[in-house]
Amino acid sequence: MTFPRSISSLENIFTFTGEFVQKHRIDGKVRFLLDLAVEEFFTNMVKYNASGKQDIELLLQWDRHQIHVTLVDPDSHAFDVTKDRKIDLTKSLTERKVGGLGVYLVKKLVDSLQYDYSNRKSSITFTLQLE
């Protein structure tokens, strides 16, 4: 399924993930993490490649033990989400920022994460173990 490069696509994205989890009877924490990871990666693609012309593709696959999720930006600069970026979570309230926090959180919470880039196409794939 493809979605326009806009934050307003989130409503349709969550309808899509909602149908997927309902079909496969996925609930609880995995459902929450699926939406969180998809939102963080999708909004990253929108924010940091706003000039991209093509829609972003979202693929959801299920097997008995885990779900596999892939987001594909077909026209983008490379941005390897698996690389560690400095984010200081110990700063005081006045110094805290949320930039980079979404991807940091998702990296902590998904079970595997892979990034591929070739011919201007970025692909992010992650898995979540089923409970």
Binding site: E11, G28, K29, L36, T90, L93, T94
Partner: protein, 94 residues
């Protein structure tokens, strides 16, 4: 569907899903808060980093006048997000 309202007693009540498409709505209501306030998460099912950002901005603004937000009734999934983001060091969570 996301909703945010200020109850008669002054508590802020969140419900539904606070994602990046809803942060303006949340920001608009939280901007009306000028004193220490309880934010009730009882009916909030989902929050992303965009939602955390709105709460962080409100906490920063309120702290300048010696006030703060206290967050109550979080689901375990949302509590995990706050924990991993170390936002449990920034907010009082009950």
């Amino acid at each position: 569907m996301f909703d945010i309202r200020i109850e008669d007693g002054g508590n802020v009540v969140l419900s539904g899903r606070l994602d990046a498409a809803q942060v303006e709505k949340a920001h608009e209501v939280l901007n009306r808060v000028t004193k220490s306030t309880i934010v009730d998460f009882k009916d909030l099912q989902y929050i992303s980093s965009a939602g955390l950002g709105v709460l962080l901005a409100a906490q920063k603004r309120l702290s300048q006048s010696g006030n703060k937000l206290k967050l109550i009734n979080m689901s375990s999934h949302i509590k995990d997000v706050f924990h991993y983001a170390r936002f449990d060091m920034i907010f009082e969570i009950e």
